[in-house]
């Protein structure tokens, strides 16, 4: 007997949301597996926040369904609220409250018993690195610290799924890197995380899967490498030779597995044919032809480049 596959953390089918005549989300089909750190990418107005709001039970969909750990977000909203932690793209804080008071308040809203609450508050503050700011007024915290406090609030009831809308927006580089470290740590602790962000280079480094939406429609969903492969027409390799550059170019052009060769300053830009994935071919051709190769590097396409290629830059 084989084990049943684990329940997906999130599964949406035909998820749509209209505001009057305006369609913010149109037939979104999405699957997020348990333990994923899932990047949600899209331009402003693409429908990311609407999707996260539907998943958090704040909004109801106009059509379609969203299931979170087996619970429907509309029919079983109460059960969903216990397994999710939602962090919107604003802080949502009372600035005249102390840090522990704020977490205590939300702990009480989640009906965490008093005896357990104190320890929970202490634990989540330690996790997000705010233990030393327990008694501080929220208004006196820096933006990065308020963001961490928001994350601590999300974790207060130990949810299995975190929905984070732009958690690193407006943070300085150090705070952003620290925030990403915390997210990695949370993933290690077994949380499933959906994160929407505009800082694609960071999503690229921490997410194992991403989805790209535009004008409320899904364009891609899958591993980061998968979307790279989907958009790249051929690998680009840069070579530098100590001998005659023109002769080296001629050598490369004769090989059928090389699609394009050109000189850029003192380097040679080589575009491989789509079916060719191993860039050692370039070294092989040059060395066999007698050229003195001094540097060879592969130009990997970044998520930002992928995003620019797959979207048309249309906002709603």
């Amino acid at each position: 007997m084989t084990d049943a596959p684990p329940l997906p953390a999130v599964q949406t089918s035909g998820l749509s949301r209209n505001y009057g005549n305006f369609t913010a989300l149109s037939g979104l089909n999405l699957t997020v597996n348990q333990g994923d750190l899932f990047g949600f990418i899209g331009s402003n107005g693409a429908g990311k926040t609407t999707t996260l709001r539907i998943l958090s039970t704040f909004l109801t969909p106009s059509a379609g369904a969203a299931i979170i750990f087996g619970h429907d977000v509309v029919r079983e909203a109460d059960a969903v609220r216990h397994v999710i932690g939602y962090m919107p793209d604003f802080f949502g804080v009372y600035k005249d409250m102390e840090v522990t008071e704020y977490l205590d308040f939300f702990g009480a809203c989640y009906r965490i018993p008093t005896a357990k609450r104190e320890k929970t508050v202490s634990d989540v503050l330690e996790l997000v690195g705010l233990s030393e700011k327990k008694g501080s007024l929220i208004g006196a915290l820096s933006r990065g610290m308020q963001q961490r406090l928001g994350l601590a609030r999300v974790l207060i009831h130990d949810p299995r799924l975190l929905l984070l809308d732009e958690p690193a927006s407006g943070l300085d580089p150090r705070a952003r890197i620290e925030m990403m470290e915390i997210l990695r740590e949370l993933q290690r602790l077994g949380k499933t995380i959906i994160i929407s962000s505009h800082i694609l280079s960071e999503l690229e480094t921490i997410c194992n899967r991403v989805c790209i939406i535009e004008r409320g429609q899904l364009i891609y969903s899958g591993p980061v490498q998968g979307v790279r492969d989907q958009v790249s027409s051929g690998k680009v390799v840069w070579a530098r030779v100590a001998s005659d550059q023109d002769k080296a170019i001629e050598l490369l052009k004769t090989n059928p597995l090389i699609a394009e060769v050109s000189a850029v300053d003192h380097e040679i830009k080589v575009t491989l044919a789509t079916e060719q994935t191993d860039h050692s071919l370039v070294a092989d051709v040059l060395v066999r032809g007698g050229a003195k190769l001094i540097e060879l590097r592969e130009d990997e396409i970044g998520l930002e480049e992928v995003f620019m290629r797959v979207t048309k830059g249309e906002t709603q």
Partner: protein, 528 residues
């Protein structure tokens, strides 16, 4: 001075606010209603004129602060005040421009009533002196109210605090202006009579109020009767014009002071250390701290949404401040030397004031959660909309419960003495229903209205103006089928008003729940 960009911006901003138009409609409607009532009751032109004057004066005291009290505090909250000072503008310019703009809006109110006032001339009984008198009083008070509102707004960041401070300053200004006038009058007419006046201060105050409001036909008697020598009338007129000039000068001084406050506060620097220490020393619990913590924790466990109302010392002070006010008024009422006067008559203002304050508190109640985004977080927590609404209502009721309980106790105790003709049961019923219902209406508007001012005005309309109107309409409709006397008719009208209020509260409560469930509320979020 670079006033015009600020005036221009302010006028444009006001023109885009629906509240501005509703306010005008309200002003014109009230003026029409006053005129209609006066004409139906067969009042003379002089009486109608005085009634219109009173309405305008009341509007200046009540409506003008609603529009002005947030003019600087809002810019402080939204962070736009600092941007103004990156330009050549100075704090004094900002204060003068704000006061000028809102003064113009107030003058529009006076102009709106002008056609109705013209009708009273046609009715007869209105002299030019009464017009000068009315205009100078209204102008002086308009300037003073705008000035204190700008000053209060410069001092506070929150609209509710600015409004409360404005009303305190209006009372202080009224007392100051009254005292000034009293001494001026004594010095002009009979310097030797100062001690006699001091001994009969209450009569003097009553006379001053009549003088200010044209009550009991005082103006028409004084300004048209031939028994008063012309020299005395001239002196009265001159005194009034001098007072108006003094009040206008006082208003200008207050606006310049507001400029000074803005100059000190626009950088939003934290208060000085001594002030922070004093604040902590005065507000930190000293005795029974463990008990207090347990008490607050219990509140948090039982009702987290209501706990937010009691979390701060200022929230807790409200409870005992109202209890102190009620205790004082009840003591004054039951220890009155005139045993034939029913003490409950003295308590009637409280019957209105307590629910009024609750409505005021409720109308601004959810604004903070809407603005800072906490409402969205609460709605994705396991709390149901019903729990959120009831939690907040219980918090508001709890703040006024000791004062209300004391009032009801005194009312019932007086009733049980059996000394007075009426039982006052209808007023007690009104109070109890208003205690429960007005916060529901206020809370509902705090969700649906874009601004707190709008929420407050709508709460006042639906909580206090519409139920009596509905009660009156029902009684008028039933009149042909009944044979009740005057007292029975009044009681019936009050009873129907109470029923209308209860029904309205029920409808608003359901509407509020529906709005929260479907997320149909004014939802403002900004990165804070």
């Amino acid at each position: 001075m670079t006033l015009f960009p600020v005036i221009h911006r302010e006028l444009r901003a006001q023109a885009r606010q629906p509240f501005t138009y509703w306010l005008r409609l309200l002003g014109a409607g009230a003026a029409l209603a006053v005129m209609a009532v006066m004409i139906l009751n067969g009042g003379s032109g002089g009486e109608s004129f005085a009634a219109l004057h009173r309405m305008v004066l009341l509007s200046i005291w009540v409506l003008v602060p609603l529009g002005v009290a947030d003019c600087v505090s809002r810019e402080r909250r939204e962070g736009t005040l600092g941007l103004l000072f990156l330009t050549p503008l100075r704090a004094r310019d900002v204060a003068l421009a704000k006061a000028g703009t809102h003064g113009l809006r107030g003058l529009a109110l006076l102009l709106a009533v002008l056609p109705m006032m013209a009708v009273t001339f046609l009715q007869g009984g209105v002299g030019w002196r009464a017009v000068v008198f009315s205009f100078s009083i209204n102008l002086a008070w308009l300037a003073l109210v705008v000035a204190v509102s700008v000053l209060a707004s410069a001092h506070c960041r929150s609209w509710t605090r600015a409004l409360a401070l404005t009303h305190v300053l209006i009372v202080v200004s009224a007392v100051a202006a009254g005292t000034l006038k009293m001494f001026a009058a004594i010095l002009v007419f009979r310097p030797s009579a100062i001690w006699q006046v001091m001994e009969q201060l209450d009569s003097f105050i009553a006379g001053s109020v009549q003088y200010l409001t044209g009550g009991r036909g005082l103006w028409s008697t004084n300004f048209t009767a031939s028994m008063i020598p012309p020299g005395v009338i001239r002196r009265i007129m001159l005194g009034e014009l001098v007072t108006t000039g003094a009040l206008l000068a006082m208003a200008l001084t207050l606006v310049l002071w507001a400029g000074h406050v803005i100059a000190r506060r626009w950088r939003e620097e934290p208060p000085p250390v001594w002030m922070q220490k004093t604040s902590v020393a005065l507000t930190k619990p000293r005795f029974g701290v463990a008990f207090f913590r347990r008490w607050m924790l219990r509140h948090l466990e039982k009702n987290p949404i209501g706990w937010l109302e009691r979390r701060t010392w200022s929230g807790r002070v409200v409870v005992w401040a109202w209890f102190a006010v009620t205790t004082t008024l009840c003591s004054a009422a039951v220890t009155d030397q005139n045993i034939w006067r029913d003490p409950r008559r003295s308590l009637l203002p409280l019957v209105w004031l307590l629910p009024g304050s609750m409505g005021y508190l409720a109308a601004g109640s959810f604004r903070r959660e809407r603005e800072n985004g906490v409402m969205e977080l609460l709605l994705v927590s396991p709390l149901t909309p019903q729990q959120i609404i009831l939690g907040r209502l219980r918090g508001i009721w709890g703040q006024f419960l000791p004062a209300a309980a004391l009032l009801v106790f005194v009312w019932l105790a007086v009733r049980n003495l059996g000394l007075y003709q009426t039982t006052g049961a209808e007023w007690l019923g009104f109070f109890l229903v208003a205690f429960g219902a007005v916060p529901v209406i206020g809370l509902s508007f705090s969700l649906s209205s874009r601004t707190t001012i709008g929420a407050f005005v709508l709460t006042a309309l639906f909580g206090f103006a519409l139920p009596p109107l509905l009660g009156w309409l029902v009684v008028v409709a039933l009149d042909p089928f009944t044979s009740w006397n005057m007292r029975e008719r009044d009681s019936a009208q009050l009873a129907f008003s109470v029923i209308a209020l209860a029904l309205l509260a029920g409808a608003f409560g359901q509407g509020m729940r529906w709005r929260l469930e479907r997320r149909k509320f004014q939802f403002n979020t900004g990165v804070s």
